[in-house]
Symmetry: C2
Subunit: 149 residues, 2 copies
């Protein structure tokens, strides 16, 4: 697998992704398997809920975000391997036919003290809909290898 | 939808879930749709990776955790609605045929200052495998309605 090493990343870098259209049927089948709550399964039930209409499971949004991230130009060598998150939230619901894309910003780059061949980068990933509204915001720490000597 | 109101929750309460067996084929098909990286798609490719063998996408683990949570005895009235996380990490990989279950602990219960009909509860959800090892730890804040007067 080719890709970027720790030395190729720097705070302030911005990467963008392609777009992904949210399919209403997939909202419902994802929810049926993983998050079977009425506001993710059925438009009528959702209208009377806190969401006011059918909304994707947050975990479906997270999974679609990962798809966009893997296919974006943000390509750490060794893959996208998350060590954990400092922040993770869903400010707005995702609706059928939304078109999602990502803003990916490198916040910090740190060599590891204990492992000389790798480091961590801190990345803010903002998932936006076609109106530019943030529907998911995460700040995560990713493991990235250093460039071989 | 019936369930527990804010007044029914208290710090220190513990809920458990059922179990869910991790299917190897589902690891691969989930990854093909949402996280197409070699260590989630193919056992041979995974052996040479940081995971040392096929591992579920973290988002698949998160989605399976949600399934267990929705089906557990932890049942807030109005559903499980996450406002965001204070902590979210995957300490160990999830493997084919692992059996996952949850420890769900209520850490804090707070009425909302601005919305008199609801509140927030802070919940630590630990996803464990059949050896009892933590494979996902999250501390999330959930919106819960107050009991109607």
């Amino acid at each position: 697998m080719t890709g970027k090493y720790l030395e190729d990343f720097a705070a302030g870098q911005i990467y963008r992704s392609g777009r992904l259209r949210v399919d209403e049927e997939r909202i419902k089948t994802f929810a049926a398997e993983f998050d079977p709550q009425p506001f993710h399964l059925d438009g009528d039930a959702a209208r009377g809920s806190i969401f006011g209409g059918l909304a994707a499971s947050g975990w479906h949004t997270a999974a679609m975000t990962m798809r966009l991230l893997v296919q974006s130009e943000f390509k750490p060598a060794g893959g996208i391997i998350g060590a954990g998150f400092d922040e993770f939230r869903w400010p707005l619901p995702v609706r059928p036919d939304d078109e999602l894309y990502l803003d990916i910003e490198v916040l910090e780059v740190r060599p590891s003290k204990s492992r000389p061949n790798q480091g961590l980068i801190k990345v803010r990933t903002t998932t936006r809909n076609q109106k530019g509204e943030a529907v998911q915001v995460s700040v995560g720490n990713l493991v990235v290898p250093r460039r071989p000597a």
